[in-house]
Symmetry: D2
Subunit: 434 residues, 4 copies
């Protein structure tokens, strides 16, 4: 296969070709639209909301706003003649993990830095936006510049999802349970979940991974053949109602349902339910971005770790699908409606919804049984951007399909998200296979 000897330059070329052809929206409009969404997500938050970090894995909103800007400054603007940084200290301060760029500021101390404040951060964004816009107006971008720009926009969309999950975690840590935004949603009129059905698949060889049309991360390729074993896939995700049965049946108290590391996590953290579930006088409630409200039983279960997804599956006598089974099963799926951009547009809050059958995309990320490993022939691109994905391919599990916090133009069937098996603060749920 050609991809096995593919070089970094070729990858860059491939991404670029795809990008320039993909959309009727001008790149300038797209840049503005994506960048504005970040500001819109931050809009309901106070300066202090944007400053805090409620756990080492989460980052302050203000840091997200600055780091996504730093990406464009560092990888797109810095190489231009006459470039002057907005503030030379920002290079270190807003580097996330690119060792090749320099020693990043320690991740777990991002919430201990009060300056630059929110206003100065917005100035920083504006400054870089002006420079990028000027660049886009001035001249035709080189393929490698276009490729970096596209990567930067997708990178920002990833961070937009983290802005939601991180700030949700931060607000939830506050005993006052502050509200991010009011939600007009009336849970009493929510529809019922559709009955669970099983879709069979025979053994087959399928092509998986990204086909090179349009943008994709390097970890989605090379496209290659995988052998799918005979299996059945659930028609929809597990609901809160089904998950409650697992809890009531003592799921969190029986080691036999759990991986050994999972059982350690249950005991160490005292897990008794998904994250953001709150027991009040014997009734389960959920902390949401619009405050605490009674658990809606037909909604898909959310904010579970891989360990919980796996334990639930074992308790059910089923298993989680592999990422290739998932990609194969989802292949007929059309994009759903439960995405952050669509929810915001309709005045809704970012939260999972009861959906029907065809819900592989959006709503909740779906944990797969696949650990996050490189595809055959995978090679990271050279230079600092090569640190983007490859170096995290260890001890993480793949999630597929996007969530209610993902932008609808940021998801693909080949998209591989990944988190450690104890991570719970993402909008992650469960689809079963057998």
């Amino acid at each position: 296969m050609a991809t096995e000897t593919q070089t970094a330059e070729q990858t860059s070329q491939r991404l670029t070709d795809a990008t320039t052809k993909a959309s009727s929206e001008s790149i300038k409009d797209r840049y503005r639209r994506v960048r504005e969404l970040s500001m819109r997500i931050a809009a309901p938050l106070s300066a202090e909301d944007c400053a805090i970090q409620s756990m080492p894995d989460a980052s302050p909103t203000r840091w997200h706003l600055a780091h996504t800007t730093w990406f464009f400054e560092t990888f797109l603007l810095k190489e231009r003649p006459g470039f002057a940084p907005f503030n030379p200290s920002f290079e270190r301060l807003f580097n996330s993990y690119y060792n090749s760029v320099g020693q990043p500021f320690p991740r777990n101390r991002r919430g201990q830095i009060s300056r630059p404040g929110l206003n100065e951060t917005i100035d920083y964004r504006r400054h870089v936006d002006d420079a990028v816009t000027e660049l886009l107006s001035e001249s035709e971008l080189s393929p490698s510049q276009l490729s970096v720009l596209e990567l930067g926009l997708n990178h920002e969309q990833q961070h937009q999802e983290l802005m939601f999950t991180d700030v949700k975690h931060a607000l939830a840590s506050n005993p006052l349970h502050p509200i991010y935004a009011e939600d007009p949603f009336d849970s009493t009129t929510a529809p019922k979940a559709s009955p669970l059905r099983w879709r069979s698949s025979d053994e087959t060889i399928v092509e998986v991974g990204h086909d090179g049309n349009g943008f994709a991360y390097d970890n989605e390729g090379p496209r290659h053949r995988e052998l799918i074993h005979p299996h059945q896939m659930a028609s929809r995700c597990v609901t809160n109602r089904e998950y409650l049965e697992f809890i009531h049946d003592g799921g969190y108290r029986q080691p036999e349902y759990w991986l050994s590391l999972g059982w350690d996590a249950v005991n160490q953290h005292g897990w008794e339910a998904p994250l953001h579930w709150i027991s009040q006088n014997g009734d389960w409630h959920q902390f949401t971005l619009s405050g605490v409200r009674p658990l809606v039983l037909d909604e898909p279960v959310c904010h579970v770790s891989y360990f919980e997804a796996d334990a639930f599956a074992r308790w059910s006598g089923k298993r989680l699908p592999t990422e290739f089974e998932w990609e194969h099963a989802a292949s007929g799926d059309t994009t759903g409606e439960i995405f952050c951009d669509k929810l915001l547009q309709s005045g809704g809050v970012v939260h999972p919804r009861v959906t029907g059958d065809s819900d592989f995309l959006g709503n909740v990320w779906e944990w797969t049984a696949s650990q996050y490993l490189p595809y055959p022939g995978y090679r990271p691109v050279g230079g600092a951007l090569g640190e983007y994905n490859g170096k995290f391919m260890c001890n993480q599990f793949v999630l597929r399909g996007g969530s209610c916090a993902t932008s609808s133009d940021h998801i693909r069937l080949s998209y591989r998200n990944f988190f450690p098996p104890d991570a719970r603060w993402q909008f992650a749920g469960i689809r079963l296979a057998q």
Copy 2:
């Protein structure tokens, strides 16, 4: 001695009598003056500056503003008929360590709470200030109310000092080294330190502790007799110049100068100089509240731990004074000028100054060789306020004299400050004895 059987009520009585007689300033004016100083300290800070917590021992400025207010609300207003809390959740959120009042919010997570924000916190202060002012206008306060009010004001003054040291630590943690306030001070015109002289004292029995005139904390009493052994006391504190000799002589690399726990701390934290010292191209600079500036050699050394003070003394062939030697030696001292209220009034920044001989009070706290233990006959007052001081009498060392961050009306010769031996973020320096 009567004090041995003294009851909590008697203590309260004693404090009150003292208070009401102590000052020509009305209690209402005094309340306003002290409360306003807190707001003045916070004035140069952004909402984000007030939100962050740069280490578990420090607290956000906003927390200090709220907690000092909580103190008046909880101990003065709550018992009044018709009392309604500003926000019932604040009881837990802004409790520091009073187990009798309820389970405090975890100290090391104070920087992870974004609400109430700065503005709401200021509203909270105003609300409580109005209620207290109303109380003061309405009626004669009972002795016990007066006593709590006085304690609350002293409590707030203590926190004012912590606001300076905590925010200094927070700003210093930021690679941008932000400036709290510009300082007109010109270090090149600083005077020279006076020559070190030794003042001898023969064996004698002295009365130490507070005499009951005016306010004092319970840990300053009962006044009692102590035997002072013959000794000599240094006429001034150790200077940066003298401390540099210790560094140059390998002081931080030789275990024989250090207590065993101190040597552990040196190695664990990689100490090579006092906190806030910065080596730039071979020259020592200091991070101050007005930014980074060259070390002023004649200023008293500051931001050292007990371990460093003790190691320096051992290297010098001297020792630290006991708290009773200190109180005896300082007894002729008049209040100095290097206090936070006086510095702010004259437009200066809170930072130690080169001083002359008579500097027992103000400038820098002075570590003593005395571990923090109760005086003979000491009994904490009853109830929640009994948790104020007594329960910390273990593994801490006494500091005496106040600092440039202390209010001049908050210090006394009998005042016992205390910190663990590895604490460095206070304005603490060294006076030798032999």
Copy 3:
């Protein structure tokens, strides 16, 4: 596929059939032979050598001797009428991780228990051996008993390997570098490593996993089809000489060769070379079971973590093979000579040797790029023994092929060993693919 609905009973049946047919050696002889090897491994050790635990992941030799005995007592003897335990406390003391049997004694405290001592432990072994021998003489074992017996013997062989690696770690921790056994081996006459060649494979579908003839662990099945992508496999493992080039080229100082978690491990532990390498006056030596000796450059590199194997591969521009590529490539390999039973028999010490081309089995375990996950249709057996393998299928990597510390009758092409990616104390080396 039938295996997908396979029940625990069927698994048990399958193992049993295989076992009874597999060998001309009587089960009684085999039991004696395997049990005696454990005693032989412990023979050169003092009572104290057998007592210590040099890290939480390792166990004292005495614990291995007792735990392997506990396995037979608990799973084979306990169900017999009239059974009386040798000592009722041993049930908890020598349980490793079977939560269904009861709360195990904490793993990291195994080295803090001095009793039962070595002599009593040997009595315990003898007592159980007598009872098992009696059982074997008395009557035909049931299939399920035979299955447990076979599992117990394989379990003991696994622990025999750990006895070598754990005691090697313990002796290496001692600054005296004690010798386990003298070795007649003369490194100056060691042969040269054969030149590295690459063997190509086209895309193909292969059957992998155990075929049911003879004993296998449950994690080796079900046998199933896997798609192999085109690749090339190295003809032999990486040598110390080749690994030294990586070190000299700054391999341990450049983050770009490392997985993110691997780079953390390098920095946290200060790794600069494989475990048991010792730099003396600029020359590399190795601590071996026969003491410290100069590094033999043609021997396969050993005692590396997955992180180091992966970093070396990235530095080489190659990668590690998947476990299926490995199983496919090794399929023509005949059993080698570098196994613990054969080495002991010839008076040699357990240590890797320079070998020729056909060395997939024995010598050093080979890290694969495959995280340890269940095969399609895998189901753990029911009951306590179901905890044997399945619950560890998370955040570990598969190693294949056995090592110089493995018994030659304990290895198979389908054998899946697994360790976390930072484990270094096993005899684990590196084979490259591309």
Copy 4:
């Protein structure tokens, strides 16, 4: 005072003079007697019992045997012409904390070292004993040699007490509860504790500290004057019966009785009773060196931390005495009977006994309210031996009087033992004052 300018040489002189005059027993006999007691303490233990370390603060018996020998080798024999070490590696291996001698082997890893084994350790002792005996026969020892010899014997006696408490902790950690030695003691015939009486003292100035007659540690001097405040001292220590009342009254569940750090310790470790107390079916038992037996209510409470002693005192409405009040009160006391040498001689086991009134010395150490600080004019001796005591004068509390594990010729009224406030594994109890 002369002592303020006292030099190390003078200290050495003083100790020596005292030593040579103190006893009719020849120094050679005394050396043999003390050294033999160590072997006698180890006699009931297996090689494995002597190897293990059940917590970082404890050491293996074998390490005690070797370290006390190392002391004589390093400080007495090493300076002799023609000296050859028994094993050069032992210098580092058996150094406890003398940084001046070299980097000690990490304390918390002493239980991970299996060699030298018990037999080789005994050889080491014999080797050094022969050399010391030869030295004693050959020639008159110099004053400084005599001083070191005396220090070495006292040092060994200190470690003999630790051998008891460390091995008790180790055996107690074993679920089998092994017995160190059978005890003929019949608890049902134990006498009743005498009624508690209070002995009053007026304010007075007393001389405290060692007077220079006979051996003393440097931390017991200089002898100096202290002011004693009026107080009352309990006639005997607190009994198990009295301590049980505290437990039954919720003592371990009420924060108001506890120092802040003490309350943290209670919660962190889950303390509910003194160390070695075991609740069986609602009845309290005690693990002793002769196994588990019912709690004897009239015995003094033992194995409590300073935190527990202090909390008990606060609950009682009393306090702990200062070390000077204790020394003053004990001054008329004659040596008691409950010491390790006397108990062993009479065939008893090392364990506290019900005693009468005059029990300041022996039985249980008594926590005082005094933190461990230097006396006025204290200076450590020069050189490595100067590290003996002084460097630990921080965050520890003084205990007085010796215990059932102390040798009767190793205790003095001026003897200052010291432990951190959370230490519980010593034979430490409580005497009240008010």
